[in-house]
C-alpha cells in the first residue's frame, strides 16, 4: 500500500488558526479534514446573564472583519423576542452599514488574499509590484467601506453605535454626502475590479452544492428574509433548528453545521447569488453576464468574481440608500423587554449568521446560540478539498498543497469567528 504525507503547517491568508490533514491511500483521497485548533471563545457563555442592550457590543467582538453581521443578527433577534419591528429609515441605515461591511471585507479578500492565488504570487504585497493599480483600487474600496462603517457605527472595527431598536445616533444628510461621493468612485473601482478578476484562469471544477441563503421578496438580502435552499428548504428564520444541526467533531474546536436530512451545504456569496440573482438590479445582472457568470455559479474558484460583483452591488445599494435618506425622528424604536425567545439571521459577507436568544422577563439573557457562516461551511470545505485534491493527485505535493490552500481561500473563511488557521498534512498510504 503506497502512503504519502504532505504537511502545510499554516494556511496563509485566512482569518484564524487551523490545519488541514489530507489522507491519501492507494491513489485516492481517503479523508480531508479541516482541523481548527483555535481555542474556543465562549461567547455564548459570556452572554448568559447579560442585559439585552449589551448584546450588540459583546457580539461585535466576535469578529473584527464582520462585526456588523453579529450586531445585526443580534438586534433582529432581540427585537423579534420583544415584538418590535424596525422599519423606515432606521431599517435603511442598517442596510447601509451592512453595505460598508460587505465592501471592506470583500475588497480586502478579493485583492489582498485571494487574487494572488490566481496570478501566482505568494501574497498581495508581491502582487502589488505588477498589479499596483488594482491593489490601490482594492485598498481604496476597503477605505470607502470603512468610511461608511465609521460614520454609521462610530468606528470601523467593533462599531459602538448599533443598539437594539436602531442606533444611538443617526447621521444627517450632510454627513452622508461626502461618503456618497466616495462611493461613486468606489462603484467605478468595483466595476474595474470585477472586470479584472473575470480575466483570471479558473480550474474547471464544479460541485453540486445545496446553496442556503436568505431570500427577501424584493431585495438582495442583508437583514431579512426566509431561509431558503436550492433544494426544498423555505423556512422562517425562527425554524432554522428544524432543518439544521450542529455537531461536534474531534478535529475541530468549531462545531460543524449540517442539514439534518442531507449533510453539507453552502452559504456565502455563491449561495446568495444563485438564490437571489433575480433580486439584483438589471445593471448588476448585466455586469455579471459580462463577467462570464450565469445566474448560478457552482465553481467555488469563481467565488472571487461573485464577491467582486457583490462589491458593485453594495456600492450601488449604498448610493441608492444615501440618495433616498431622510433622517428619522427617533434614532431608535423604544423596546420593552419580556420573557421569550428571539431569532435573527442576516447575511454576513461569508454567509448567513444565525442567532437565538432566550430572555428572562427583565431582558437578561438566559441562553444564547450563535451559528457563524464558517462553521456552516466547514463540511463543504472538506468535501471541496477531497474533490480538489483528487483531481491533482498525480501532481507534486506542492501543487496539491497550493490547490488545497486556494480551495480554502475560496470561502474567505473566518476561523476566528467559527471557533475558532492552516496546517496541511497529506498522508499517502
Amino acid at each position: 500500500m503506497a502512503t504519502k504525507t504532505v504537511h502545510v503547517d499554516y494556511l496563509a491568508r485566512v482569518e484564524g488558526e487551523g490545519a488541514l490533514d489530507l489522507q491519501i491511500a492507494d491513489g485516492r483521497v481517503a479523508s480531508a479534514q479541516l482541523r481548527i485548533f483555535e481555542p474556543p471563545r465562549f461567547f455564548e457563555a459570556f452572554l448568559r446573564g447579560r442585559g439585552y442592550a449589551e448584546t450588540p457590543d459583546i457580539v461585535a467582538r466576535i469578529c473584527g472583519i464582520c462585526p456588523i453581521a453579529y450586531q445585526m443578527s443580534a438586534v433582529h433577534a432581540i427585537e423579534h423576542a420583544f415584538g418590535v419591528q424596525v422599519g423606515g429609515q432606521l431599517r435603511a441605515l442598517r442596510r447601509l452599514i451592512y453595505c460598508g461591511e460587505w465592501i471592506e471585507s470583500h475588497a480586502l479578500h478579493v485583492v489582498m488574499l485571494h487574487a494572488p492565488d490566481f496570478l501566482g504570487f505568494p501574497d498581495g504585497i508581491q502582487m502589488a509590484r505588477e498589479h499596483g493599480d488594482m491593489v490601490r483600487d482594492g485598498l481604496a474600496l476597503k477605505k470607502a467601506g470603512n468610511e461608511l462603517m465609521a460614520l454609521l457605527g462610530g468606528r470601523e472595527i467593533h462599531p459602538v453605535n448599533v443598539r437594539p431598536g436602531g442606533f444611538y445616533r443617526v447621521p444627517s444628510r450632510a454627513e452622508l454626502a461626502p461618503v456618497g461621493e466616495s462611493l461613486k468612485r468606489a462603484r467605478d473601482r468595483a466595476v474595474g475590479l470585477l472586470r479584472w478578476v473575470a480575466t483570471f484562469t479558473f480550474p474547471e471544477f464544479e460541485r453540486d452544492y445545496e446553496f442556503v441563503a436568505l431570500r427577501h421578496p424584493g431585495e438582495y438580502p442583508f437583514n431579512e428574509g426566509r431561509i431558503v435552499s436550492s433544494r426544498d428548504i423555505d423556512i422562517a428564520i425562527a425554524d432554522y433548528e428544524t432543518e439544521f444541526e450542529e455537531r461536534h467533531v474531534a478535529h475541530s474546536t468549531a462545531l460543524h453545521s449540517l442539514l439534518k436530512r442531507r449533510g453539507a451545504y453552502l452559504v456565502g456569496p455563491l449561495a446568495r447569488y444563485a438564490l437571489n440573482f433575480d433580486r439584483l438590479p438589471a445593471s448588476v445582472q448585466q455586469l455579471a453576464r459580462e463577467a462570464g457568470l450565469g445566474p448560478v455559479c457552482r465553481n467555488p474558484f469563481r467565488s472571487i468574481v461573485v464577491r467582486a460583483l457583490e462589491i458593485v452591488y453594495a456600492c450601488e445599494e449604498a448610493l441608492r440608500l444615501i440618495a433616498d435618506y431622510e433622517p428619522p425622528a427617533l434614532a431608535a424604536v423604544p423596546l420593552e423587554p419580556r420573557a421569550g425567545n428571539g431569532f435573527g439571521c442576516t447575511e454576513a459577507p461569508r454567509g448567513i449568521c444565525w442567532h437565538r436568544y432566550d430572555f428572562e422577563a427583565d431582558g437578561s439573557i438566559r441562553a444564547a446560540r450563535i451559528v457563524p457562516p464558517t462553521a456552516q461551511n466547514q463540511p463543504s470545505i472538506e468535501a471541496d478539498l477531497a474533490a480538489v485534491a483528487e483531481s491533482v493527485l498525480d501532481q507534486s505535493d506542492e501543487v496539491i498543497r497550493d490547490r488545497c490552500e486556494q480551495s480554502i481561500r475560496n470561502y474567505d473563511p473566518c476561523i476566528s469567528c467559527s471557533a475558532h488557521f492552516l496546517k496541511l498534512a497529506v498522508q499517502r498510504t
Binding site: 485566512v14 472583519i65 479578500h109 488574499l113
Partner: protein
C-alpha cells in the same frame, strides 16, 4: 507647501507615529513615547497614535517626507532593548500575523507603501522589545525605562529629517 523653520528655510514634513494598544501593557510603548514627546517637537511635525490594522498608515504618510514610528516587538529575552531600523536601507520584519489575518502589521504596511511608491523617502522605526502583552495598562519596568531614550532619539531624528534628504542611522 512645506513649513518654514525659524531661519526661514523650508523644512520637510515629518510624521511621528506611536503604534500599539496602551491597554496591552508593553504594547503601549508607542503611546508612552508620544506622550513624552509632547511639547518637544516643532509645531509642523505631525504626531499620530495608531493601533490595530496598519493599513491606515498608507494614507497617514501620504505627502509626508519622512516617517518615524515607535512600536513594540515580541519578547526575545531582552525587554526594553531599543532597535533603530532605517526602513529605507533595511527591511522591517514582517508580522507573522499577516499570514493569517485581514490586518496588516507595520512591516507589511511599510513594504506595501514602498511597493506602491507611496512610502516617504525617509523612514525610521524604533522597535522596543516588550516583556508583557497581557490585558492592562502600564509598561513593565525595563520597557518603561526605554521611554526617555527613545523620545530623545526621536527628537534628534526629527531635527535631522526636517532638514536632511536621507535617514542614515546616527551613532547610538
Amino acid at each position: 507647501m512645506n513649513a518654514l523653520d525659524l531661519d526661514g528655510t523650508a523644512v520637510r514634513k515629518v510624521l511621528v507615529v506611536g503604534i500599539g494598544n496602551p491597554d496591552r501593557c508593553d504594547d503601549g510603548i508607542g503611546a508612552a513615547v508620544l506622550e513624552r514627546l509632547a511639547g518637544r517637537l516643532p509645531a509642523d511635525v505631525r504626531t499620530l497614535a495608531r493601533r490595530g490594522d496598519m493599513l491606515a498608515l498608507l494614507d497617514d504618510c501620504a505627502g509626508a517626507d519622512a516617517l518615524v514610528c515607535v512600536d513594540a516587538t515580541a519578547p526575545m529575552g531582552m525587554p526594553g532593548q531599543i532597535r533603530r531600523i532605517d526602513a529605507i536601507a533595511e527591511t522591517v520584519p514582517r508580522d507573522a500575523s499577516f499570514a493569517s489575518s485581514h490586518a496588516l502589521g507595520l512591516g507589511e504596511a511599510i513594504e506595501l507603501a514602498r511597493t506602491l511608491g507611496t512610502a516617504p523617502p525617509a523612514m525610521v522605526v524604533y522597535a522596543v522589545e516588550g516583556a508583557c502583552f497581557d490585558d492592562g495598562m502600564g509598561l513593565s519596568p525595563l520597557v518603561a525605562r526605554a521611554i526617555e531614550e527613545v523620545a530623545d532619539r526621536v527628537v534628534a531624528d526629527v531635527a535631522r529629517l526636517r532638514r536632511g534628504p536621507a535617514s542614515p542611522a546616527p551613532e547610538a
